[in-house]
C-alpha cells in the first residue's frame, strides 16, 4: 500500500489496515507520538478503530528540543 507519511511516499507490505498496524509497522509502538490522518487528528484511543486507505496522508509527530 502506498501512503504519504510525513510528506514522503512510503510503500508498506503487508498493507496496514489500521493506524495501530501502521504505527507498529513503522516501529513507533509505545512511543509518545501524535497522528494526523488526512488533516484530522487520530486520538490514541482510536488507532485500532481508524482504517488506513491507499493514498492517505499521514503526519506523525513527536516532541523535540525547542524554545
Amino acid at each position: 500500500m502506498e501512503l504519504i507519511v510525513n510528506g514522503a511516499l512510503r510503500r508498506l507490505t503487508p498493507a496496514p489496515a489500521t493506524i495501530a498496524e501502521l504505527v507498529r509497522a513503522l516501529d513507533l509502538e509505545g512511543k509518545r507520538i501524535a497522528v494526523e490522518r488526512n488533516g484530522e487528528i487520530v486520538p490514541k484511543g482510536r488507532y485500532t478503530a481508524t482504517e488506513v486507505h491507499p493514498g492517505d496522508r499521514l503526519e506523525i509527530v513527536a516532541a523535540v528540543g525547542g524554545g
Binding site: A62, A63, G65
Partner: protein, 269 residues
C-alpha cells in the same frame, strides 16, 4: 512572617492558569549538545516549565534511540509545547492541537506565529487569529508577541493566560531593548507578563524581573553559553534576585548623593 532562611519564592508563587509554580524561570530545550546536557542545565536552572517543539518523527531510526522525554520526564516537568516555526494561524493551531494529543490533553501551550525568518519577529495579526481559535478550543495560551501594549491588551482580552513580549529578537541575546514598553504592558496586565526571547546574560534576566515581569522564558542564553550548566544556575539566581529587588522596591535614583550612609556628626577634628 517567614523565617529568614526561607526562600522568598515559597511565599511568592508564579500562578499561570490557576497553577502555582515556585520557579519564575521557564526554559527551552533546544540547541544543547545532547540530552544529558539538556537535563543537567535544566536541573541547574530550577525551571519547572520547559518548552518543547513538535516535529515530524524520524522514521526508520533506531526505535530504542533515547528521546527528549526520557531525559525530562513529563512527571517531573510541566511541558509547554510551542508552535515555533509556524508562520500562519492555521499551522500554529494545527501544531498545538497535535501537541495536545501528544501530551494526553495537556492544555497549556505556547503560541508563537512568526512573521519573518531573518528576525523571527512575531506576526501579530496571525497571532491574534490563532489565539482566538485556541482559547475557544479550551487551550491555556501563553502567547509570544511584540512589545506593543495595545496588542498585549487585545491578547489578554481574548483570554490568553500569559502575555510574553520579546525583549529583543529570538536568539539575539541583545537584552532588554525597550524596558518602558515592557513596563506599560506589565502595568496594565492582569495576567502574568513574561519576557520571552532576547535575554543574553544574567543581568538581562534580573532587569526583566526588576521591571515587574512575572517570569522569564529563555533558551539560547543558556544553551549557547560556554558553560550552559553554570549559566543556567546564573539565570536561576538572577531571576530570583530580580524578583526580590522588584518586591523590595528600589530606592529612587538621585543625581547627587546628598545623603551619605555614614553619620555626618561625631567626626574627629
Amino acid at each position: 512572617m517567614n523565617a529568614p532562611h526561607e526562600p522568598a519564592a515559597q511565599a511568592d508563587p508564579l500562578v499561570i492558569a490557576g497553577q502555582a509554580y515556585h520557579s519564575r524561570l521557564l526554559v527551552g530545550t533546544g540547541k544543547y549538545r545532547d540530552f544529558a546536557q539538556t537535563r543537567e542545565a535544566i536541573a541547574a536552572s530550577g525551571a519547572q516549565i520547559v518548552t518543547v517543539a513538535i516535529r515530524r518523527t524520524n522514521l526508520g531510526q533506531d526505535a530504542n534511540a533515547p528521546s527528549l522525554l526520557d531525559f525530562l520526564p513529563p512527571s517531573e516537568f510541566t511541558y509547554l509545547p510551542n508552535s515555533a516555526g509556524c508562520y500562519t494561524a492555521d499551522d500554529a493551531v494545527r501544531t498545538l492541537k497535535l501537541a495536545r494529543e501528544l501530551l494526553d490533553g495537556h492544555a497549556l501551550t505556547k503560541l508563537e506565529v512568526l512573521g519573518d525568518s531573518s528576525t523571527l519577529f512575531p506576526n501579530v495579526r496571525e497571532t491574534l487569529k490563532a489565539a482566538e481559535r485556541l482559547v475557544a478550543d479550551g487551550f491555556q495560551v501563553m502567547v509570544y508577541t511584540s512589545d506593543d501594549p495595545i496588542i498585549a491588551r487585545e491578547l489578554e482580552q481574548i483570554g490568553c493566560v500569559a502575555i510574553m513580549p520579546l525583549a529583543s529578537l529570538i536568539g539575539s541575546g541583545m537584552g532588554i531593548l525597550n524596558p518602558w514598553n515592557l513596563r506599560l504592558i506589565i502595568d496594565q496586565a492582569k495576567v502574568p507578563v513574561l519576557v520571552d526571547a532576547g535575554v543574553g546574560t544574567a543581568s538581562d534576566a534580573a532587569i526583566a524581573m526588576e521591571l515587574g515581569c512575572a517570569g522569564v522564558l529563555m533558551n539560547t542564553a543558556i544553551a549557547l553559553a560556554q558553560d550552559p550548566v553554570r549559566m543556567a544556575r546564573a539565570m536561576k539566581l538572577a531571576v530570583e534576585a530580580g524578583r526580590d529587588a522588584f518586591l523590595a522596591g528600589r530606592m529612587p535614583r538621585k543625581l547627587y548623593a546628598a545623603s551619605p550612609s555614614s553619620p555626618t556628626s561625631g567626626l574627629i577634628s
